[in-house]
Symmetry: C2
DNA sequence: AAGTGGTCTAGACCACGTC
DNA sequence: ACGTGGTCTAGACCACTTT
């Protein structure tokens, strides 16, 4: 069962990759339980402890969620526990009310230079662009412009976005089978242009947080590129360093 | 060796706390190796696997660093591997040159309302304030104002700061025995005031990243509060979301 | 009572670094 | 050759949830 030294990968990581493959193949859906550690150990013909270590890593990467006494579940953006998991914006007072997403526009386009690089598609490939507003207790705080590969998101429309009450990623998961695993953000301070300033109801050239995000699904495949402009008068971006 | 159910804490976490206590007591210094897992297992009278799990958690929290074949070492801000560990500012082009710290001022003061709350000291308690510049390849990019509890940092002076060539935290560690474990940052976009604009050689009211950081040592005790103003024309703040 | 994940142990062997 | 951390196994028992 063990492989020889060069390019050595421990058994538990090989098992982890097999489990991820099963996840990618849709063998178990988000929110559902995966088989017990014992069952997986039998299936892959390794000890339960090895399966355990594989799942430990996956739980650490938020791909699955362990629940003692119940089982291990596929992570889901529908789950309230990980809803808005990637949004680090917090009101100045500790108020933890969830924001409302207000879709504004949704249109088809062709990938330009930057979008093609960020999404890993050919220049000129079909993409979909979404513009939306994020409101905290009715007050607009974020303007988002979201670039999506058209091939994956066929059928995405403004009507669909407006009819959806949950988070964007829970829509992507439920309707397009796309699971967002991790993301990378690049943050800068910029001055509000006129149209953004109007949407956020602030003066032109008000300082805003520019948050560029690339989001990845299984296999580190980029599937979303977005730029958000955050008004930080009554909110801040919270980051834990460890 | 096992304790009964209410307020149950697993053995490996108790061991972890014992090891942390030894670290706090200065039993092993930063950069040095702690005893081998076998030795610790004997000392605490548990199995090696239990020590292993305790150290696993500590390595995950960057308190120690494992090195296969060599041993486990106390994390150190002198170590090039974790130098500027908390600085997330990256040049737009992938250039990874380390910044230079230029101390400007250092004076004693009394804690105001905000500083006392952030540092967990009484209002009016002695504090030390440091102002400094951070330069990337000679160009000023960050202005920092740093608030420190005077009790811990007795003897900190501008001369000492200027004579130190490494990072601020490596100075704190070497001269004051203070080990920074984790930090929390609150990020906003603000407009540059005149003096800051001059220091960063930009126009007044240029948008800047305001990064407020509270840094903690063992036992979640806050020991530093700082506010940095980052110029993000040629740099960005990088954050991994998982 | 039964099933799940969580802890703990003991022992074997592997990979890495140093002597 | 030796010591270190890293992997893997097998089995026992604990804590939590459901039946």
């Amino acid at each position: 069962m063990r492989q020889e030294s060069p390019t050595f990968s421990p058994l538990y990581r090989q098992i982890k990759n097999l489990i991820i493959q099963a996840l990618e193949a849709g063998e178990w859906r988000p929110g559902q339980a995966i088989p017990s550690e014992q069952e997986l150990a039998l299936r892959f013909n390794v000890s339960q402890g090895t399966v355990r270590k594989a799942i430990d890593e996956m739980a650490g990467e938020n791909m699955v969620v362990r629940k003692q006494g119940k089982g291990t579940f596929v992570a889901s953006h529908n789950d309230p526990r990980s809803l808005f998991r990637f949004l680090r914006l917090v009101p100045n007072d500790g108020d933890l009310s969830h924001p409302d997403s207000v879709p504004l526009e949704c249109w088809k386009a062709k990938a330009g230079h930057e979008a093609s690089r960020m999404l890993g598609v050919d220049p000129g490939a079909p993409i979909i662009i979404v513009r939306r507003l994020l409101k905290f207790s009715g007050v607009p705080v974020v303007v988002d412009e979201i670039y999506l590969p058209g091939e994956i998101f066929q059928g995405l429309s403004l009507e669909l976005l407006q009819s959806w009450s949950g988070s964007l990623y829970s829509l992507f998961e439920s309707r397009f089978g796309l699971r967002m695993i991790r993301a990378q953000e690049r943050i800068r301070a910029v001055a509000a242009d006129r149209t953004t300033a109007e949407m956020l109801r602030v003066g032109e050239s008000t300082p805003l947080l520019s948050v560029e995000r690339v989001t990845y699904t299984y296999g580190d495949k980029p599937v979303e590129w977005r730029r958000g402009l955050y008004l930080t008068a009554n909110h801040f971006y919270l980051n834990e360093l460890s």
